[in-house]
């Protein structure tokens, strides 16, 4: 498809209806993101259930708008009440809230908004540039490479998002792989782990599981901690563009970190923002100001988490492997709406990547204006008691899951996934690897067996080609590194050296 045809396809999806839906998505995302307890991932899962009757592309445009709005909206509550709206904005609390408490709330929101816009646009530019390149590369991949990418994704996601032990991340990922394998096998139609229940012959439905896994634990935890919130007062200070542009280097560096982390499967915005914040503090000329209201710190955190959006969508569109938990839920939504991300997307919907780029840019534009308009009303909204909000969220969780297939089993799955989510939170097991495991389970499973079938059971297919060899080495290095093998060797060498010197 030529450039002109792609542009025609892109313009087709920029009608008034689409723009309105994107605006609605951004608005919903900003509110969901700003309300502590309601995360972007949960918002996308909930809205997927609600929008399943929309035509494919329009629902996706709305969900992408929600993604952009959700990540930015979290900074509002981080700055105004010192509680991050989403985990992605936890690092923004460090400097945003002290700034607001010092009477510079409006200034902090303006700067955070500018950083969000810069970060999102940077991520979108990278998305437009790298997705076609990665797609070209992915078209040359065989089943062995796809299997190894999936496995590497689950393991690295476990390693990077494990709260205290990498092992906990891995176990979450492997558990997710097991859940992803429930149902009819793609190659032989053999029923696995279905307990003879025909409702799960087609596999465990992803969206109800996500709604339950993220929604129910949040409802329970929010109802347990009924706290009074302290809302900062907004000043009327105007921030000039040159005051923001002073931090251009911080923004570029954070943008690169965000996109880089976004591309890594399943890691997500929270890791991007903390990493960027940590790097910015380490190289800053004024590290002592961090945590006390440093504008530089706020720019670093907000740029990174927003640029991660574009980064996370790159592997989603090119490989069918999501770069973050919200992108994983987006994958489920894409499939529901007839769009199958991966290398074949460039044949089935050649203009889709550029349509997504256009929707994301429009969403960024809406986010740019809506954040400031919403800041003052949100001061009131943030004071709504959890006892009012959370029962409503529960009702939306139930009806959102039920709407997809009109099956009672989905309600049961929401509850069971909710219990699992509570156990994961209590045991400090990260959610991202589990989500990625569920999504990638069928991909890893089918491609593993396809590769073995193609090689007549010869395992050398997993290291014969350069890409698969690199992926295999990376996986082994990752496992050995997390098991402490390298640090033990280093320690041993150090001791040996000391012994020799003495």
């Amino acid at each position: 498809m030529g450039f002109e045809q792609i542009m025609i396809e892109v313009l087709k999806t920029l009608s008034f209806e689409f723009i309105l839906l994107i605006a609605a998505g951004v608005l919903i995302g900003l509110v969901i993101g700003a309300l502590p307890g309601l995360t972007t991932t949960m918002g996308i899962a909930l809205l997927t259930g609600i929008t399943f009757k929309f035509s494919g592309h329009s629902a996706i445009a709305l969900l992408l708008g929600l993604y952009v709005g959700g990540v930015s909206g979290g900074s509002l509550s981080a700055i105004l009440i010192g509680i991050p709206g989403t985990p992605a904005n936890a690092s923004s609390v460090q400097d945003g809230f002290p700034l607001a408490m010092a009477g510079k709330g409006a200034q902090a929101i303006t700067i955070s908004r500018a950083a969000s816009v810069m970060g999102t646009v940077f991520g979108i530019v990278c998305l437009a540039f790298f997705t076609p390149i990665l797609t070209e590369l992915a078209l040359k991949f065989t089943s062995a490479e796809f299997c190894l990418i999936g496995l590497f994704g689950v393991l690295i996601s476990g390693s990077l998002s494990g709260a205290d032990l990498a092992m906990k991340g891995w176990i979450g990922g492997v558990f997710g792989l097991a859940i992803g394998m429930v149902g009819s096998d793609e190659l032989t139609a053999w029923q696995r782990m279905t307990f003879g229940s025909p409702e799960v012959f087609g596999g465990i439905p992803f969206i109800p599981i996500m709604i339950g896994f993220f929604g129910i634990p949040q409802v329970v935890e929010s109802m347990i901690d009924e706290k009074e919130v302290l809302v900062a007062v907004l000043d009327k200070t105007k921030v000039k563009l040159k005051d923001i542009m002073k931090y251009w280097w911080v923004a570029i560096r954070s943008g690169l970190i965000g996109v880089g982390i976004g591309i890594i499967p399943g890691v997500g915005e929270d890791v991007a923002s903390w990493t960027s914040y940590g790097v910015a503090k380490r190289v800053s000329k004024h590290p002592e100001e961090y945590g006390k209201g440093s504008i530089e710190g706020l720019v670093a955190a907000e740029t990174a988490d927003n640029s991660c959006i574009g980064g996370a969508i790159i592997p989603l569109l090119s490989l069918g492997i999501p770069g973050s938990p919200p992108a994983a839920v987006l994958l489920g939504a894409f499939l529901i709406h007839g769009v199958r991300p991966g290398p074949m997307l460039s044949f089935e919907f050649p203009a889709f990547t550029y349509q997504a780029v256009a929707w994301l840019l429009i969403a960024t534009l809406f986010m740019r204006f809506m954040v400031m308009w919403l800041a003052r009303p949100m001061q009131k909204v943030l004071q709504i008691k959890n006892a009012i909000l959370m029962p409503i969220v529960t009702v939306l969780c139930a009806i959102g899951a039920f709407s997809l297939d009109i099956r009672y089993i989905d309600i049961v799955l929401v509850f069971l996934a909710g219990l699992l989510g509570i156990l994961f939170r209590r045991g400090k097991y990260p959610a991202a690897p589990l989500v990625l495991g569920i999504v990638l389970g069928p991909l890893v499973d089918t491609n593993f067996r396809r590769a073995l079938q193609a090689s007549n059971g010869d395992f050398s297919i997993f290291y014969r080609r350069p890409v698969s060899l690199i992926l295999l080495i990376a996986t082994v290095v990752l496992i050995l590194g997390q098991l402490g093998v390298f640090s033990a060797i280093r320690e041993k060498l150090k001791r040996k050296k000391e012994k020799a010197v003495s």
Binding site: I50, K53, L165, M167, K168, W170, I171, V174, F175, L177, A178, M181, D185, L187, T188, W190, R192, M193, I216, V219, V220, E221, M223, I224, D225, E226, K385, N386, A387, I388, M390, P391, I392, T394, V395, L396, A398, I399, F402, S403, I406, Y408, I411, V412, F415, G418, L419, I422, L423, G427, Y429, V444, D445, F448, R449, R450, L452, Q453, N456, G457
Partner: protein, 150 residues
């Protein structure tokens, strides 16, 4: 939790073994047998669950005594009971009301009941909020999206 994962892993392995040895799959080449990945995933889960369980048990002293203490502390905490009440309300709504009582009535009872239990505000406020929420949900899902509400 490590032991829980271990148990799940054993079940996954068993399911894999059943597929691996199933006569119905005897014509399928072994590399394509669905049991191969299930065995691998189940085995990994067993191994990781065992490691987590060993890490948890090692250095924690007498696991039975520690477990008993943790359970008694949890049961005495207010947060635990609040959590149980929330889960019980959700369970009643999902398993007791869903499909048995008309959706509008059951959702109103759930919303108002939960808000009452957790002292969301004055009774008339709770009634208005619950009523408006139910009306919106019914209109959006039942009327606009034409979903057959239970």
């Amino acid at each position: 939790m490590g032991l829980g994962f271990l148990a799940v892993g054993l079940f996954v392995m068993y399911d894999g073994y059943v597929a691996w040895t199933a006569p119905a799959l005897s014509v399928v080449p072994k590399p394509s047998n669905p049991g191969i990945t299930t065995l691998f995933v189940g085995g990994s889960l067993v191994f990781l669950g065992l490691v987590i369980a060993v890490i948890g048990l090692r250095g924690s002293g007498n696991p039975l005594r520690i477990g008993k203490q943790a359970v008694s502390e949890t049961i005495r905490s207010k947060a635990f009971w609040r959590g149980c009440i929330v889960l019980a309300c959700i369970a009643i709504y999902f398993f007791g009301f869903w499909g048995r009582i008309p959706y509008v009535i059951s959702t109103f009872i759930f919303l108002a009941g939960m808000m009452f239990i957790f002292k969301a505000g004055a009774w008339w406020k709770i009634f208005i909020i619950s009523g408006v929420t139910v009306a919106i949900v019914w209109y959006v899902f039942g009327e606009l999206a034409m979903i057959p509400l239970p």
